[in-house]
Subunit: 206 residues, 2 copies
């Protein structure tokens, strides 16, 4: 059985939604950041990178959200979460999710976790200050260039949708007005009503 | 025919090596950063994210190196660049490349491109100063936890190998002694002798 190491306030939410969308049988293991559970020897043996999500499979551990999302889609083909037999369309999907991972999420992390990249408290403050501008630039690109609608890739729901939903849901927290990106905003409200999203929120006490 | 927008000093080198490994027919288009060619309207119409690599296919443009690498492997199955029919092994490969993209390459970018995440010149200096420590931490994880040898994933050469080769080749430039990571260092020297790597270096005047 699959087991997801997660924290509700992280991108692991997107993975749990994809597991629900896939109809996968899985269990969850909460990683409590308040006690630094992600830095214990037990967790580092699971993910040496000290992050969630980490998905335990019968073959071993998988990390990195875009890779996990493609894995869920490929191992649950009946759920139609991606155009599995079309290498170009799959590459577009992966490129979108990898942009979220390597650029958008990273830009957001500079607001809260600047200590990863500088020691000077003033430098960390400077990153926090600039983060909303950088994140908004990313969402301008998504809105204008990549979002097709009503779902990210057009008419079909894919593994891009829960990923974008989680990051666009964090805009409020970061003081960025989501309504300046009308397509992304409409997507957020549509996603919030999906049964699988509601189920994960209920299951995780959100 | 495929067309790769590239700059030799960027991760687009890894993509060109994969194209050579695949036996793909492609042409290259140099993007001259000295003239800010990546910010021209012409290039932004190709990649609104203003980055290389960008791979033009007969279906459209692909971006994000890990997605491009999987696309090359899947569209050239005879080249055996990845275990295409094994979702778990593919997810491990993608997770490795996505870690390089979203964490290792990002950590390196803080040495040269801190302006992406802060405006204060002192903050940018603080990022430059910390970058080698952050990058070295990443390579410690790769060396201890993920590198199987002699290739990244073990006995088989995959799309992880040119990607790691390019980033490990940048360690010298960043003042990080690669020999502290003996497996990664041996991989670098082995990769440098591969005909496809030599061909790209010769073709690109490196």
């Amino acid at each position: 059985m699959l087991k997801l190491y997660y924290h509700p306030a992280t991108i692991s939410f997107a993975v749990q939604v994809a597991l629900e969308d896939a109809g996968a049988t899985s269990e969850g293991e909460f990683v409590d950041f308040r006690t630094n559970a992600q830095r214990t020897p037990e967790f580092l043996a699971i993910n040496p990178k000290s992050r969630v999500p980490a998905l335990i499979t019968d073959r071993g551990v998988l990390t990195e959200t875009p890779a996990i999302m493609e894995y869920i889609a490929r191992t649950h083909p009946a759920a139609n979460l991606a155009p599995l037999d079309d290498p170009f369309a799959m590459a577009e999907i992966n490129a979108f999710n990898i942009y979220l991972c390597s650029t958008v999420h990273v830009a957001m992390a500079h607001r809260y976790r600047g200590y990863r990249w500088a020691d000077d408290p003033e430098a960390i403050k400077a990153m926090t200050a600039k983060s909303p501008e950088v994140v908004a630039d990313c969402f301008r690109v998504i809105e204008a260039e990549y979002f097709r609608g009503p779902f990210v890739m057009g008419d079909a729901y894919t593994i891009c949708d829960p990923y974008l939903y989680v990051l666009s849901g964090w805009l409020d927290r970061d003081g960025i007005d989501r309504t300046q990106f009308p397509k992304v905003d409409a997507h957020f409200h549509m996603m919030r009503e999906r049964p699988t999203v509601k189920k994960v929120m209920a299951d995780w006490g959100m």
